[in-house]
């Protein structure tokens, strides 16, 4: 089986990151994507405003329509040689919620179903509040996988914790076991939000998590269907501020689409940590402390609906 080289991965990842303007148009052409002429403004890490063609934003839908890169049954096998890891730079997050909506679009989730949540955290009275994007941590010692009675949720060799919704009996023990409240349940027949490509032709795989099913558990999957094609998960590419770095621990490289860095150096230089390390779950997601922040926390309340803002009423902002 052909595996993506590190170079390939980083190149595609960087391209998918939308930001580096040079060569994007040419690259889009090679992918068979026609520019629409409609531009979208995005902010780079170093504070530059760049314009990107909207066609690029549809990239995911395009990828989706190509179908799965692997047969559904293969969804239980990890991508050989990989050990996926994510780093979240809390100093860059302003709760733009682009990651949330991109994830919802990717997985056909209605507005109130968020696999990726952005919480407003305040660790103690003295410390300042900060935005905290939280996805599945794909723990190396996953409490959810331990308790599943029917092998419906499993840990793969590439580090991912996935769910097979064809096998799930809906006992919800995994939801109880997950200390981070990551998992969500389909309490009724999942609704398909409007404006998305038709879902009927989609073949289910634990890698795509679509179509969703009533009475089963679901969660953030790190978009392995994208990753298998050498592309980044949707939350990573959607983030205008480069908050999310995704990559491979074996290669010691992560990228946020704009810059590609050594994982070990990033964690060392920016004092990376894992959330609630003392629980012993060994997450595969690292956080960089919310220091040298690019945005004041208040910026995160802009452009939110009243209901979304009401979520944070209990957090003391002073």
């Amino acid at each position: 089986m052909k595996t993506n080289t590190r170079r390939d991965f980083i190149k595609k990842g960087a391209a998918a990151g939308v930001i580096s303007a040079v060569g994007v148009t040419a690259w889009l052409k090679t992918q068979g994507i026609e520019e629409t002429g409609e531009k979208v403004k995005l902010l780079t890490q170093d504070g530059q405003l760049v314009e990107v063609d909207k066609a690029f934003m549809k990239l995911h839908a395009q990828v989706e329509s190509e179908g799965l890169a692997i047969k559904p049954a293969g969804g239980r096998e990890g991508i050989p040689g990989k050990k996926f890891v994510m780093v979240v730079d809390l100093g860059r997050c302003k709760n733009a919620r682009k990651c949330v909506t991109a994830c919802q679009k990717m997985h056909y989730l209605p507005e109130d179903n968020e696999w990726l949540k952005v919480k407003l955290m305040k660790d103690n009275e003295m410390s300042a509040p900060y935005w905290f994007p939280k996805m599945c941590f794909h723990c190396d010692n996953p409490p959810c996988v331990k308790v599943c009675p029917v092998d419906a949720t499993f840990k793969r060799s590439d580090g991912l914790v996935l769910i097979d919704n064809e096998q799930c009996i809906g006992c919800k023990f995994c939801m109880v076991a997950c200390p981070y409240s990551t998992r969500v349940f389909n309490w009724d027949e999942p609704e398909i939000p409007e404006g998305l490509p038709p879902i009927e032709h989609k073949e289910y795989s634990p890698e795509s998590s679509v179509p969703r099913q009533i009475g089963t558990v679901e969660k953030c999957d790190f978009c392995p269907d994208m990753v298998r094609k050498g592309m980044l998960p949707d939350c990573v590419t959607a983030c205008p501020n480069g908050v999310f770095y995704f990559g491979d621990e074996n290669e010691d490289a992560v990228t946020n689409g704009d810059e590609t860095v050594r994982l070990s150096e990033l964690l060392r230089d920016k004092a990376g940590y894992r959330f609630m390390e003392d629980l012993g779950t060994k997450p595969r997601v690292y956080y960089l402390p919310p220091s040298d922040r690019m945005f004041p926390v208040e910026r995160g309340f802009k452009n939110l609906t009243e209901e979304q803002n009401a979520r944070f009423k209990d957090v003391d902002l002073n």
């Binding site: 029917v150 109880v176 979520r311």
Partner: protein
């Protein structure tokens, strides 16, 4: 006093149960129909849940388990209690215990059927039940529970049956008015037992061995039940005391329900001769011992959490102590479930049948509330802030579907008992006859049933 043969004594004892065994009165029909109506209401609720999804319940992403799991712990706890109480009474071989052993065993059988139904109700995909056999993983505490309950079910059935054989053999040869099919039923299930000394010796030894096995089995299975909660990383659950706590809570609430059953059958099937103040007092004493121990466990559990004041435990304790959250229920659970039995039983004048029954009733209710308090507040205490504005996602509130199925469970329990008392004497005739024979200095070994 003229001496009777043992057979005469058994037939005389049986006569006290004849009205129940022979007739199905209008009142019986009324009871059966009303209880069935409640069960049907539950069945309709279940139909709604299956067709529309678990959206019809109050369960949501944070509180993923609700009334159902509380009922599961409650009923399966009664089952374990019935087994261990009857086993201990059997092995102690005390005369006062003999009349109530069968009720305890029947309680075991009925609740081991009803309890697991409630955990099935928690499943989103009942159509995939067979996955438990196809893909069962031994790492999961749910798998342990499936195996534990299945094993226990077989054991409990055997335990009941071995002791019922003797009564079936008495019934078979009695002058009871019965249909041919029924006679055949008794004949078939008495397995040719005639109470010959050899048969009796073997039967009693088997009974003793099963009783002996049931005791550690109950300890294991109720610990396994507790580990569904205790092995998670949740405040209030992740506690080493949970195993013994569940074992004790099971037995304790079981004693309460047994007292209620004693009262019910004593009054409505006129069994005052067999179930006397003595049984109530002794079960009351047992209740006090268990109340004190359970109170100690409870104090130990919450005191540890409160004093060390670790973040999430403190949040949980705060919820249990706040009036606007679970304070009222928590107070009731502890006053009704621990203080009340201790106080009432401490005063000799209050140790009456009525008082003990009322106390047992309140205690059973309190123990049910306690199960609710074990499940819901912990699930409402997430490690990360919930930050969800949907009320139903942050606070659990049971819907009519869940209540309907809860009452259906209780109705099924009562109905099963009523129907069982039509098929077999609700008290073991053979054991009671042996007591009478002993009192009349007749050697029960002297003569067979036939």
């Amino acid at each position: 006093m003229s001496l009777m043969s043992f057979k005469e004594i058994t037939q005389q004892t049986l006569a006290d149960f004849k009205p129940q065994l022979e007739k199905f009165t209008k009142k019986d029909w009324l009871w059966t129909l009303s209880l069935s109506a409640v069960i049907l209401w539950g069945a309709y609720a279940l139909y709604r849940q299956i067709t529309q999804g678990e959206i019809v319940t109050g369960m949501r992403d944070n509180v993923v388990w609700g009334l159902y799991i509380a009922n599961f712990i409650f009923f399966i706890g009664l089952s374990y209690a019935g087994a261990i109480i009857s086993a201990i009474l059997h092995l102690l071989n005390v005369d006062w215990g003999k009349p109530i052993i069968r009720m305890a065993k029947l309680m075991t059988i009925f609740t081991v059927v009803i309890g697991p139904i409630f955990i099935l109700l928690c499943m989103g995909r009942l159509d995939r039940l067979h996955h438990l056999f196809l893909y069962l993983r031994l790492q999961s505490p749910i798998s342990w529970d499936v195996i534990a309950i299945a094993t226990f079910f077989v054991g409990a059935l055997l335990y009941l049956y071995v002791s019922v054989v003797r009564d079936f053999s008495i019934l078979r040869t009695s002058d009871l008015k019965m249909s041919k099919t029924r006679k055949k039923f008794y004949k078939f299930f008495s397995l040719g037992y005639r109470n010959t000394p050899k048969q009796k010796k073997k039967l009693m030894l088997s009974l003793k061995i099963i009783a002996l096995i049931m005791i550690p089995t109950v300890v294991v299975v109720s610990s396994v039940l507790s580990w569904i909660f205790g092995l998670t990383l949740r405040p209030g659950w992740h506690s080493t005391i949970f195993g013994p706590y569940f074992v004790l809570a099971s037995i304790y609430s079981g004693v309460g329900v047994l007292i209620l059953l004693m009262y019910y059958f004593r009054k409505y099937q006129h069994l005052t001769k067999y179930i006397t103040i003595k049984q109530f007092k002794y079960m009351g004493y047992l209740m006090v011992i268990l109340a004190a121990t359970y109170g100690y466990f409870t104090f130990s559990e919450y005191f540890t959490d409160w004093y060390s004041s670790e973040k999430w435990s403190s949040e949980l304790i705060h919820k249990l102590f706040s009036w606007d959250e679970f304070g009222g229920l928590f107070l009731f659970a502890n006053l009704g479930g621990i203080a009340l039995p201790l106080i009432v039983m401490a005063i000799p004048k209050w140790r009456t049948i009525n008082a003990i029954t009322i106390v047992a009733g309140v205690m059973v209710l309190a123990m049910w509330v306690k199960r609710y308090l074990i499940v819901i507040p912990t699930l409402e205490t997430t490690l990360l802030p919930m930050q969800d504005t949907r009320v139903e996602y942050t606070n659990y509130s049971a819907t009519w579907v869940e209540w309907a199925l809860t009452f259906a469970g209780i109705a099924a329990f009562i109905l099963m008992f009523r129907l069982a008392s039509k098929v077999m004497p609700i008290l073991p005739v053979w054991a009671n006859s042996e007591i009478i024979a002993k009192e009349n200095t007749i050697d029960p070994k002297s003569s067979a049933h036939v």
